[in-house]
Symmetry: D2
Subunit: 246 residues, 4 copies
């Protein structure tokens, strides 16, 4: 396990408590679901779940110090993350920690601070189809993916996405209703790599989709700091049923 | 007129001669149609049309020397442009001439040589709808455009578009059939600016669309070399009926 | 004059009051010196000087609303600019206002917020020689410049400069003492363009140098929002003695 | 050894035969020297040396098929590499092969074709000092390097270096005589990664320098295609005396 990537899955953890449907979809929370994939299927050596309600909002110095890559899911409680914690996370990114920002995390304070822009976008919630096209097939985050993959029912996010032009653009989404979106975007902030990945909505089984999970796993490896070997557990399980949803 | 941008509209000019429907759509040729817009509506001071069948393939030293920006439309006769002329055009680009590559010009030798890649893509010709989204609303090529515009019937171009990642990405297309495409892409090659713009097909009235034409006019201004003032003719005509097609 | 670029030269204005030598070098303040160049030699139609000690720190809504491009010089009082004003300036940039950040402004709150990084660098103040090389000769900010220009005595800034990789890199500096620096860097933040330009120190006559001033003038034109024509005053004066320093 | 990176060190191999001093410096050829480092110190599993005088110019389909990353050193015989072989190498790069272009290789046909520009630069051969600064300390090619390293006697290369702006800029050189140079530049060409690294001259012991060699080793790892694990030999030797030069 020595040398492996240490991941902290940061999860707001509010929706799961407030809505029984969401709790049913993600019985261990959205964070627990992602963590389970990273541990069992992606073979990441060390995965920790932090939640907003944890001590220090799950963002203590101790946690940050032992995190090589953090994934971030938040939505309704962006404003509750303290400015001090936001600055602490951003400082760790600048120092080399990778950051994978998921879905509604586009409006998290940490992401907006790292981008320097408003990070606004359009959205529509009618459960339409999304098709994610790989526009950079040689990028490690697209490794092992087909030329596109589909999600049958999603919340739509549309352009204009108010971010700095990504350093690399990996995915562009097509939506049934007529929109497009830059769904997989890479940036560098000093020593740290940042990846934004669009899919994911609390009321839909997005984090049960094998392609979505594969992208998150690839992104974790891509975002790991230099010198952190992608050493993984030997016994990686096949991707199969990983939760109660289809 | 002194100081204005001097444009050469390079047009292969084969389809118009071989197909009566195309000739009807573009009685002055595709090149003539674009040139007419640049002169009358965009107010470009000096516009010249060159065709493959012209002396020196319309790419003589004299013509190149007096060209600030060249637009390029070719399709069936890419292979007929001599390697010597390809190198001459590329050298002028490196020296500062802007180049606007249109539609099937993605596979022109000049474009492939400047990109260093294969420039391949997918296509489908069933006359489906395209919606072009502006993903960089502050870019001068998007100046004056709405957040998206539509073309009711087009030939589809799909990813993966095998080009180097654009220096700036201005448009992303949505297609009715499920594809996306990076439709407006900027690159720099030494002193010269290169813009690829997807719309345009010989059998469809694409170059009668006001938004498509506006983009070409904006791109000409963007691609002009430093020091060439965008001085234009005083009496710019309103955009109205500019040809026989709808 | 209608349609010309409206510039606000924001100047901290502290050093000039505290040090007689600096006051002698810049009797109208560093801001006054830059403004004078922009008005008289660069032919900018409308130039306003704002200082930290002005009402609203010279950053009122009214001032921002009538500013197309802002230049920013600050040093000792970065911390005094209120967070509210910082956010107001950043919002205007995202909305299209160009921002030219000069020298020690690398550590201004507005710049750090737009970059999302620490913006730290090395420095040394022994009055050594700097040579600025143009590495993108086709860029409009380098228009009219020789392949390099020199400043005989400067404060050195050295790498690593902790900014996101610039969208375009225009100048790289060579220093007598053995350092290099990315001295002219362009970024885009939504609709706004940001240019960082290294030269400038309060105790040296940097803003009397004709090449430095020419770069600032070029940058103002480059950073102007789309649709703001670079209309300038008719009677532009030749660059000659523009202050008390050599 | 299965899964390790397979490297072909392509070496022109002319200077070594024509000049006894060079032969003394590089008794196994410049290629042999680089290969020895990659095998013994960098722990690359499979290293093959190809020379211009080999069958098929050392660029046969068989060799290319088994190459994950190619390093390229050429100088006096650029023109002798056949256009067919140039196209074959470029096609392999587009298909995913990494390419590390060294020193005078900036003017190799393969590099110029992949860049789409002239790739010209300035040079001076007086044995002056070079200091290479890391301007992207988080980049894997800079992994394990100090903030700068020096070469006491080099051939100088100066700007303007006529290449497309690099996708990532890793090193900037300072030269004793007053020049700067973008010495470590990354580009992507479809699935293939390209790295240009400036140091290296046939009459100087540049490829005996531990930092130069470390960069080449890092670059080989960075340029390897996705899915090629950086598996290396177990018994990596310490970097010590690796040739007759100091």
């Amino acid at each position: 396990m020595a040398g492996g990537i240490r991941v902290t899955v940061w999860n707001e953890g509010e929706h799961e408590k407030l809505n029984a449907e969401i709790a049913k979809l993600y019985p261990k929370g959205l964070g627990g679901q992602i963590a389970q994939y990273l541990e069992r299927q992606a073979g990441i050596a060390s995965v920790h779940v932090s939640e907003l309600s944890d001590e220090g909002q799950g963002l203590t110095d101790e946690i940050l110090a032992r995190t090589d890559v953090m994934t971030w899911w938040g939505h309704r409680a962006h404003g509750d993350v303290t400015d001090e914690n936001v600055e602490r996370v951003c400082a760790r990114v600048r120092d080399g920690m990778g950051l994978i920002v998921l879905h509604s995390g586009h409006y998290a304070k940490v992401f907006r601070r790292l981008m320097g822009t408003s990070c606004q976008l359009k959205w529509r919630e009618i459960g339409e189809k999304e098709r994610l096209w790989v526009v950079d097939p040689g990028h490690p985050i697209a490794d092992g993916l087909p030329e596109y993959f589909e999600l049958p029912h999603v919340e739509m996010y549309g352009e204009h996405f108010a971010v700095p032009q990504p350093d690399q653009l990996v995915f562009v989404s097509w939506f049934e209703g007529g929109e497009v979106f830059r769904s997989g975007c890479c940036w560098h902030r000093e020593r740290g790599k940042v990846f934004y990945f669009r899919p994911g909505h609390e009321t839909l089984p997005i984090y049960h989709d094998e392609h979505v999970l594969k992208v998150i796993g690839n992104a974790v490896r891509w975002a790991a700091p230099c010198g952190v070997e992608a050493v993984t557990r030997g016994n990686v399980e096949p991707l199969e049923d990983i939760g109660p949803a289809a």
